[in-house]
Amino acid sequence: MNDQPQFREPLARAEAAPLAISARGLAKQFGDVRAVDGIDLDVPRGMIFAILGPNGAGKTTLMRMLATLAAPDAGTASVMGHDLLREPHAVRAAIAMTGQFASLDEDLTGRENLMLLARLWGFRGREARARADALLAAFELSDAAGKQVKDYSGGMRRRLDIAASLVVTPGVLFLDEPTTGLDPTARQGVWRMIRQLAGSGVTILLTTQYLEEADQLADRIAVIDHGRKIAEGTSRELKAATGSGFLHVALADAGRMAEATAILEQRLGHQVQPSAEGAELSVIAGTAQAANEAIAALLAADIEVTDFSLGQPSLDAVFFALTDRATESEPAKGKRP
């Protein structure tokens, strides 16, 4: 970076701390709601890091704080070696953020939107146009370059919005739910682009509520719920931490889910997680013997099982197990000052 490379001190410090993001105890309150309630985060450079959580878990607020858009009520953080509170301008020079909603000027054309940003970054007249055109070509928007953004489709807007974050290659790229609302093809495209960017050395912090997205894409995942980090690790580590020996059962008759759930919980002593759709149940079985007996109990109750398997938990199951645990510890949280 041409950020005063002649000064040795900051460089030395940056090398000593190769983390792209380091946060301690970040907290933000809106009225009575603790949107973010003391989160620590260490994101190494060049990594794709996913923040996974349900709606309202505090993902966006956490990201907005790290992108200097919201001031934390407590805690400290540094981004690319710059302190969030003391050097916000330096942080902004090292990041780019694509929010959940297209942050584009609807009245301007795609090219003008990119030229506006290129000029703000310091490109002059012809360079700004060249940079805008290069980005438009790369994101297959050249044909729509002269069209006003209000006439763009959702997928085109998202592409332009991500392109707008790459006018200057950022140290950290923040992507808030980058594939929400995209069709599967467009989603694959965004995933591929994220991997390529990470391959070129950009650190990517993304939020998602899709487990599959975190599983597919992220080198590391932090699961947050109610403003707290409840687990962190690689997707494999998270799955392992929840315990292997997960029993998955598919029922022929969805109408008997409740009955089957009761039998499994009684036999295995663990809470059953129903799948989002279809008549599928997942539960920690412990041993194959216990799993066998549970299936036998279902059959004995005349509940037809169309399929079953014993194996690693899905990230879905992990997520439910983790958020479930967080809910159970709620009373303890309430006692804290």
Partner: protein, 269 residues
């Protein structure tokens, strides 16, 4: 349709050019304001139609009754309608701000390493352009209908300078509303609710002599009356420093009070 596949060129690291100056940042936002005029020419229609209607309506329908003849009334009314137009038109930057905030565009601006007030400079430029365009059109119509600015070209230039100062002051009201309210239409409604009594209970349309005492008392201290009086004088028979000072009092106070409020609202995170 094939999906996103950034060419290798884009994935090559692109470093930032030399950091531009605050002034250069502000110019970029001014450029945005000009582009908006090009892409949304219909906003000019809104901008000038209302004042044109007002001018024609008041001059020809009420003018004779109010001032004896339509010509005399136009001579009285035109400087006032200029003031009224500029005040009403200052709603646009507040509405634009509200739209930008609602869409998250300002989040992008705020996450850029730029002078944090540069986006407001763009709003100001847009405002000034709007005031100049609307002012010119109304004055032209006035000239066609028989209005005569006796102070000549210098008076007209002075009048426009005063108009821009008034618009600048009124603009802060709507900018603050725009920062507080996320729906552009509500910004307009609330703004007009405040502005209407100030505009109508002034000496823009009629001299206050026939009004009841309590209303006359209000009209005489209403800052809008002072603006209209100064505008009449500056375009007509010549103005005094006191008139100008009274006309500028409100814009100056608004700027001194609301500029820091704007800054605080914008930087509050």
């Amino acid at each position: 349709m094939s999906a996103i596949d950034p060419a290798a060129a884009v994935l090559q690291r692109v470093e930032r050019p030399r950091e531009p100056s605050s002034f250069s940042n502000a110019l970029v936002f001014a450029w945005r304001a000009v582009l908006k005029f090009r892409h949304v020419p219909e906003q000019l229609f809104d901008l000038v139609m209302t004042p044109i209607m007002f001018t024609l309506l008041f001059t020809f329908v009420f003018g004779g009754a109010l001032a004896g003849s339509t010509g005399d009334y136009l001579q009285y009314f035109l400087p006032g309608i200029l003031v009224q137009t500029v005040i009403f038109n200052s709603v646009y930057s507040g509405m634009g701000l509200s739209t930008d905030l609602g869409k998250g565009l300002f989040d992008r601006f705020r996450s850029l390493p730029i002078w944090s007030l540069a986006p407001f400079a763009g709003l100001m430029v847009g405002d000034i352009l709007r005031h100049l365009i609307a002012g010119t059109i109304i004055l032209t119509i006035g000239l066609i209908l028989g209005y005569r600015p006796n102070a000549g070209l210098l008076g007209v230039l002075g009048g426009f300078a005063l108009l821009i100062a008034i618009g600048f002051g009124a603009g802060w009201i709507f900018i603050v509303l725009g920062l507080l309210i996320r729906t552009p239409m509500t910004v307009m409604t609330i703004g007009f609710t405040v502005m209407f009594p100030l505009i109508f209970a002034s000496n823009i349309m009629v001299e206050p002599e026939t009004m009841p005492g309590w209303l006359r008392a209000f009209v005489e201290v209403n800052p809008v009356s002072h603006m209209a009086t100064a505008m009449r004088a500056i375009l007509g028979e010549g103005t005094t420093l006191t008139q100008i000072a009274l006309a500028l009092a409100a814009p100056v106070v608004l700027t001194l009070v609301l500029a820091p409020v704007t800054l605080w609202l914008y930087m509050r995170r």
